[in-house]
């Protein structure tokens, strides 16, 4: 089962020569967790090296890049979690940032001068994940019997309410200002790479790599488990799944809880890295960005989603900035349409990342709904249902 999936879905492996590829595939099929670990470690070691080489070295120094990679890791985690909900279980969650917020605030409240508490970072990773999962269950329990698009709206509403609650509960969250000076983790000399701090992104980078690797390992195992098959069954046909003995409520709740816990984990990490948590960090745009990452990477494909998230984050934080600098440098003439004036060389492209995301979502859905790196099952399913519907329509017309 797992061997087949890895063979079917591994586009980068196709670049390797035949014998080597078969070797890698056989290895990955037998030792999936180890393969994930090795894969993440290889990518993690490769990234800081490549940014030292032109053209990347011209865009910034290595520490800035590594800092960006650590932030990208947060989004990779978020996308992995949302992928469980949207990609595997087929539930459209548009308020996913709410769980990110809950995890962030859980850590900020437990480890900052604001509350005079100082709970260490490492256990809080688990606590934050568990708090977020609890809220996932609290939200999911009454709403998961709703059909797909209603669920989308309820989660959207939830995603709007949570920041409002954090904004207005001044006693616990310090309102608009948010909680600042959140304590950064202490490594206790575990890594031998210096202490966590703003000047040194490396400990964060290594930590996020470790979290992503563990999360991916667990998610791969979940996907191949009885629960993973139940998710896919529900996604494809809920009624059929229920009649085959799948407990749809528990299964969907678990998807929600596991998705939420990943966001909680990412929240704790992000709060400690930024050292600041405020309500405006968790708007709808965050949920939307994560959704775009999942769709772009290929709903249901774990490593595809991870690549999608990483790519989109880097496009937004590095590519658009460089594009802006480039366009400002070449002085294009402004287009004047009477009342409207469009000055391309004055545009800050970073501001329009959401235009890019919007276009990406629309064109992906129209042209390649399975994403850039599709999971084989998902691809077949998306194309099959369209074909079936087209056929049945033809029948109607002919009749």
């Amino acid at each position: 089962m797992s061997a087949r999936r890895l063979q079917g879905g591994s586009a980068p492996l196709r670049l390797l020569p035949g014998a080597l590829r078969r070797g890698v595939e056989r290895f990955a099929g037998r030792h999936q967790s180890l393969a994930v670990l090795v894969g993440v470690a290889l990518v993690g070691a490769f990234l800081p090296v490549i940014v030292g080489v032109p053209p990347f070295s011209g865009f910034g120094n290595r520490n800035d890049f590594v800092d960006g990679f650590a932030n990208a890791g947060v989004f990779v985690l978020l996308a992995l979690g949302l992928n469980v909900v949207v990609g595997l279980a087929g539930l459209l969650d548009l308020g996913y940032a709410a769980f990110f917020a809950i995890g962030s605030y859980a850590y900020a409240y437990s480890a900052s001068p604001f509350s005079h508490l100082d709970v260490p970072f490492w256990p809080m990773l688990l606590v934050g994940a568990m708090v977020a999962a609890t809220f996932g269950i609290l939200l999911g329990a009454p709403t998961l019997r709703l059909r797909g698009d209603y669920l989308a709206i309820v989660t959207l509403g939830f995603g709007e309410i949570v920041p409002v609650v954090f904004l207005n509960s001044d006693t616990y969250t310090n309102g608009t200002n948010g909680i600042s000076a959140v304590y950064q983790p202490s490594a206790y000399g575990l890594f031998g790479i210096g202490s966590f701090g703003f000047g040194n992104p490396w400990p964060y980078y290594v930590t996020v790599l470790a979290i992503v690797a563990v999360a991916m390992m667990l998610l791969y195992r979940l996907q191949d488990s009885r629960l993973g098959r139940a998710w896919v069954a529900i996604r494809e046909d809920e009624v059929a799944a229920a009649s085959m003995g799948v407990n749809t409520v528990t299964t969907k709740l678990l998807a929600f809880a596991i998705g939420a816990s990943t966001a909680g984990l990412a929240g704790v990490f992000n709060a400690s890295k930024l050292s600041l948590v405020s309500p405006d960090q968790f708007g709808f745009t965050v949920s939307f960005t994560i959704l775009a990452m999942v769709v772009l990477g290929g709903m249901g494909n774990i490593w595809g989603v991870a690549i999608g998230a990483f790519t989109l984050y880097e496009v937004q934080s590095v590519f658009l900035k460089q594009l802006t600098n480039f366009v400002h440098g070449i002085h294009l003439p402004a287009v004047d349409l009477g009342f409207l004036r469009l000055d391309i060389s004055a545009i800050d492209f970073v501001q329009y990342q959401f235009l890019l995301y919007g276009l990406a979502l629309v064109s992906m859905m129209l042209l390649r709904p399975e994403g850039l790196f599709p999971s084989r099952e998902r691809k077949r399913e998306l194309h099959e249902s369209a074909e079936e519907a087209a056929e049945s329509n033809e029948e109607v017309v002919q009749a």
Partner: protein
């Protein structure tokens, strides 16, 4: 379904009673405010409910169609050189009629284009696909507006005198608000007549009930759905004009909140039901103004979404909705 004739009177009676109580609670000024805000939500909610009724799609981009409508109005009025109140009555009438017509036709056209390119190709795709496209369209609209008009709040010319008041049977009311409420009611009645009396309206209703059967009966599905989008988006465009007349400000992010509230209205009234959407719009307007009057203005959004969640969980068919069977 068994008909219960008494119920048809029960709902208006309860609403009338609540409205009277509310009037004495918050006073005329706030009561009219609630009606005005409610009228805007109702106009937007109609588009949600019509589109959902016919193709079962939550058109996330609809709130942004409203937002673009307000910018079209702003652009039109300022490029025609108006920058304040028009005191010449005949000119004012011409400008108002012209603005409403232009904004409604332009937005209707944009709605048709959106349907043609973003939703029609996905009509037979899994349900998730058009939903995600709709979110994409919403962000595209927002960013196009941001490119042309910038990210800040824009103050638009208010061609009607906001200070003007009129005495209605002993009650002092703002003219603009009265005008807004009147326009909303006229448009809603026109829509109701169109849907229930014309041939195209019948095509829309039959397509909503069973698309395949309607097609077999000779209904042109594509045209019918396009017309539905045109009307829904035109109403959102009218709401955009109202926004400029009444508040005189607009912003590229206006559509998201307004869209969510309008959608809540549509769900509250019973999605797919035109009267329900109008009723829901006014109810949400009242809930919002009431929560402000009661001193919970910081929570008004949370209250509205809380209501949405409660309605969806306990009565997904809304106040006036039909039994949807396995749909909800």
């Amino acid at each position: 379904m068994r008909r219960r004739p008494g119920r048809a009177l029960l709902v208006p009676a309860i609403l009338l009673l609540l409205a009277t109580l509310d009037w004495s609670y918050m006073g005329t000024e706030q009561f009219v405010n609630a009606l005005t805000i409610g009228a805007v939500y109702a106009l937007i909610a109609l588009g949600y409910t019509m589109v959902y009724g016919i193709i079962e799609l939550i058109n996330f981009a609809h709130g942004d169609v409203f937002m673009v409508g307000s910018f079209v109005t702003y652009w039109l009025l300022s490029s025609l050189g108006f920058n304040g109140t028009i005191s010449d009555l005949p000119l004012l009438v011409v400008v108002l009629v012209g603005t409403f017509l232009a904004a409604m036709v332009v937005m209707g056209g944009i709605g048709v284009v959106i349907e043609r390119f973003a939703y029609r190709p996905l009509r037979n795709a899994p349900r998730l696909a058009p939903l995600i496209t709709a979110i994409g369209v919403s962000f595209i609209l927002q960013n196009i507006i941001q490119i042309f008009f910038g990210p800040s709040v824009i103050s638009a010319p208010q061609v009607m005198d906001v200070q003007a008041r009129v005495n209605l049977g002993g009650v002092d009311v703002s003219v603009v608000k009265l005008f807004v409420i009147a326009v909303a009611f006229i448009l809603m009645i026109a829509l109701q007549t169109f849907v229930s009396r014309t041939r195209m309206g019948r095509a829309m209703r039959s397509t909503a009930i069973d698309r395949d059967a309607a097609q077999l009966m000779g209904v042109d599905i594509n045209t019918t759905i396009a017309v539905t989008f045109f009307i829904g988006s035109a109403l959102a465009g009218a709401a955009g004009v109202v926004q400029v007349l009444y508040l005189g400000t607009t912003n590229f992010q206006l559509g998201f909140q307004a869209g969510l509230k309008a959608f809540t209205s549509a769900v509250l009234g019973g999605i797919g039901n035109i009267t329900g959407a109008a009723l829901g719009g006014f109810l949400i307007g009242f809930i919002e103004v009431n929560s402000t009057v009661a001193g919970f203005s910081r929570w008004s959004e949370a209250i509205v979404f809380g209501i949405l969640v409660l309605v969806l969980v306990f009565r997904p068919t809304g106040l006036l909705g039909q039994q949807l069977g396995e749909r909800a």
